[in-house]
């Protein structure tokens, strides 16, 4: 069964460092998403991406965050200067081309620890 893969599974970084989280969505999917989940809290929407541009973003997704689909297969989330409060599990998700479906396929997540 096709799946969304994310790397790294766990990254530890120092505050102020740049971090890039990588995702390989399901190959024929068209819509891509990043969510995050702080330990013990709910899953929070960050950004959605379609046709090589951001469709929607939340208030969490400020100027420190950016997304890119550099080569037609990878979908990356960059945090320019990490803060302690960026420590969380980051989930990538993708969706096929069907208009009216809420079936997002999530990856296993990348755990980011900022020290």
């Amino acid at each position: 069964e096709p799946e969304v893969t994310q790397t790294p599974s766990h990254q530890v970084t120092q505050m102020g460092q740049e971090v890039i989280l990588r995702c390989v969505p399901i190959s024929n999917h068209l819509y891509f998403y990043w969510y995050r989940q702080i330990l013990g809290q709910k899953v929070e929407f960050l950004v959605s991406f379609y046709n090589n541009e951001i469709s929607e973003k939340s208030e969490i997704f400020d100027d420190q965050f950016s997304v890119e689909r550099p080569d037609g297969s990878n979908f990356t989330l960059k945090i320019r200067s990490t803060k302690l409060e960026d420590s969380a599990m980051y989930f990538c998700a993708s969706k096929g081309g069907q208009a009216n479906t809420g079936e997002l396929f999530f990856g296993e997540g990348s755990r980011l620890t900022v020290l």
Partner: protein
């Protein structure tokens, strides 16, 4: 976006049917209702989606009354492996613009 309200937690026993109800009083005409399941340290997994009346698939049923202000996820004959957090989401699903917002979810514990 419609706000959802679910019980924080529920307990059940193996073999029982579990019904989790979600309230979404200000659901909009174009909103769909979607349920996800999440195990610890894993990404959420889609369970079922509906707009009105009843939807059934191989793992669950979703009951939506005529006014659509609530919905009930029904899990038949739960097992220990159904212990997870269940999220009810309400949102517009047109194309890619489905900014699905997760609430706090319902933590279901299934006991032997």
């Amino acid at each position: 976006l419609a706000k959802t309200t679910q019980p924080i937690s529920m307990d059940s026993y193996e073999g029982q049917e579990v019904n989790i109800t979600c309230s979404h009083n200000n659901i909009a005409t174009n909103d769909y209702i979607t349920w996800y399941q999440q195990f610890p340290s894993q990404g959420p997994r889609f369970i079922i989606q509906g707009y009105k009346t009843k939807v059934t698939n191989e793992v669950a049923s979703l009951f939506i009354p005529a006014d659509r202000k609530s919905s009930t996820l029904s899990l038949p004959r739960v097992s220990l492996s159904d212990t997870a957090v269940y999220y009810c989401l309400v949102g517009v699903l047109s194309g890619g613009y489905n900014k699905l917002i997760f609430g706090a979810g319902t933590r279901l514990a299934v006991h032997p």
